[in-house]
Point group: C2
DNA sequence: GACAGGCGGTCGACATTGTCGACCGCAGTG
DNA sequence: CACTGCGGTCGACAATGTCGACCGCCTGTC
């Protein structure tokens, strides 16, 4: 039976739809958006609700995502091997560099943040675990595109969305940059996604040298860069953290 | 069609199974655990994998939860109205009390943590958003059981699991405690779940006075208690934060 | 190195199961 | 006070997911 189960695919589409729209959605909205009969959509929503994946506002009758997703998402993190092994290294890196550290893996057409260490001295930061970053304009994303053919495939042919004036929007530009990244072994992104923010990332490999994720540090361009380039000392810190995590993953087997 | 969609319920059961077991599970394990034909389990797993809810270790062929769950769980938090309105109050409370703050809602037979503010001065804490706490032995749980009939129903008749010597394990004990909680308007839990940890919680209501969640502060018993009782000043802080959040929720409408 | 046992995965027949579109009662609205 | 939209239900139909036998592969064993 090499075909997906229809009702499941539809349920997944409904949840993604609910995740996308900022506000709650009504039954009819869901049905028309996915081109389903109202009865069908209702059956799926009822089951999802009963399982806790979707909740219904009793007042308006509209639907939103449910708490069970948060719980399962947490379980995903608990089991995540890369994350588990990287925790302590990420902490060290944040302390050594004095900047925010992110750990990301490829997910669909972006980088999913699976770990986030706050900048040591600073308060008032928002945890970004579970959020996504673009592939073509972040250090994490460019690392993955450079080394993981799947990531390159997900990126597509462009043109890509320009977030700032420095964003690379053409496939040829990104590919050229990736060749450079492969050559020197690390990626940077200076104000390519957010004004004033620069980051430096490096690849994490598993025991069989497959790319499995990336680490990066991220901070204000004034602190991360010097004379228009990222500070070599920070690059060294990130690369050594990436190597340490990779080694740790490889050691799991032997 | 007031019946749940079979394949969806089964898919949910599979995901819960994967979330429960610490390690990855094989196809046959999943099938026998849920009493399904291998072909059926495979069909569901294949669809879940394709949608990103489940991942397969290419080496061992075993299954684990997928990244999409983390993303959707994050989306759940983004839309969560109680959490959004409580963010700033929880911050203030943590600063005023100098202790960790949790915000929880009822989910199945427990309290799901939807927000967590670290103790201001302290480092090295693990974010517990997405994890669950028991109903019968925590301040958050007892608040919900006291005011939300659904929570009381989920709690059941006991006896409940004893985590420490001070845990209330009989329904009668918990019900008596809840009567007291309703009377004075707040709950505490001193070493009932974890040795050395005490917490104080209060109810959050929506605009129609329905219980929708609870806040608590939690910290070492030496700091939270005095002469064997929780400090009145901390109780006052928690209650005023709970009132503030409730007011904020009510104000959304008028 | 041949064998047995277990694994993940596939296949096709069967009937269970999800789907569809018409229909219901209600609430808000002009 | 009709009218339009909503969320939700119903029952007939056949498309759909389910089942158990089967396949090829790997691993451990004697």
């Amino acid at each position: 039976m090499p075909g997906p189960i229809q009702s499941l695919s539809r349920a997944a589409a409904i949840m993604r739809l609910l995740a996308g729209g900022e506000r709650r959605l009504g039954l009819s909205e869901v049905a028309t958006a996915l081109d389903l009969a109202k009865g069908t959509a209702h059956g799926i929503l009822r089951t999802l609700q009963q399982e806790g994946f979707v909740e219904q506002d009793p007042e308006s009758g509209k639907y939103q995502l449910g708490a069970e997703l948060l719980r399962l998402g947490q379980s995903y993190l608990d089991v995540h091997e890369l994350r588990a092994r990287a925790l302590v290294w990420a902490d060290d890196l944040a302390r050594a560099a004095g900047e925010t550290v992110y750990l990301g893996v490829l997910h669909q057409q972006g980088v999913l943040i699976v770990h986030h260490v706050f900048r040591p001295d600073d308060t008032r930061q928002v945890l970004e675990v579970g959020s996504m970053q673009p592939l073509h304009s972040t250090a994490l994303g460019k690392v993955l595109v450079s080394y993981d053919p799947v990531a390159r495939g997900e990126l597509g042919a462009g043109p890509y969305e320009p977030y700032t004036l420095r964003t690379l929007t053409e496939a040829a530009e990104v590919d050229a940059e990736c060749a450079l990244i492969r050559e020197r072994g690390w990626a940077d992104s200076v104000e390519e996604t957010w004004e004033g923010v620069a980051s430096i990332g490096a690849l994490i490999q598993d025991r069989r040298r497959n790319p499995v994720g990336a680490v990066c540090i991220s901070g204000p361009v004034e602190r991360v860069c010097e004379d228009g380039f990222v500070k070599p000392s920070l690059v060294a810190s990130v690369r050594s953290a990436a190597r340490a995590i990779s080694r740790d993953l490889g050691a799991g087997r032997f």
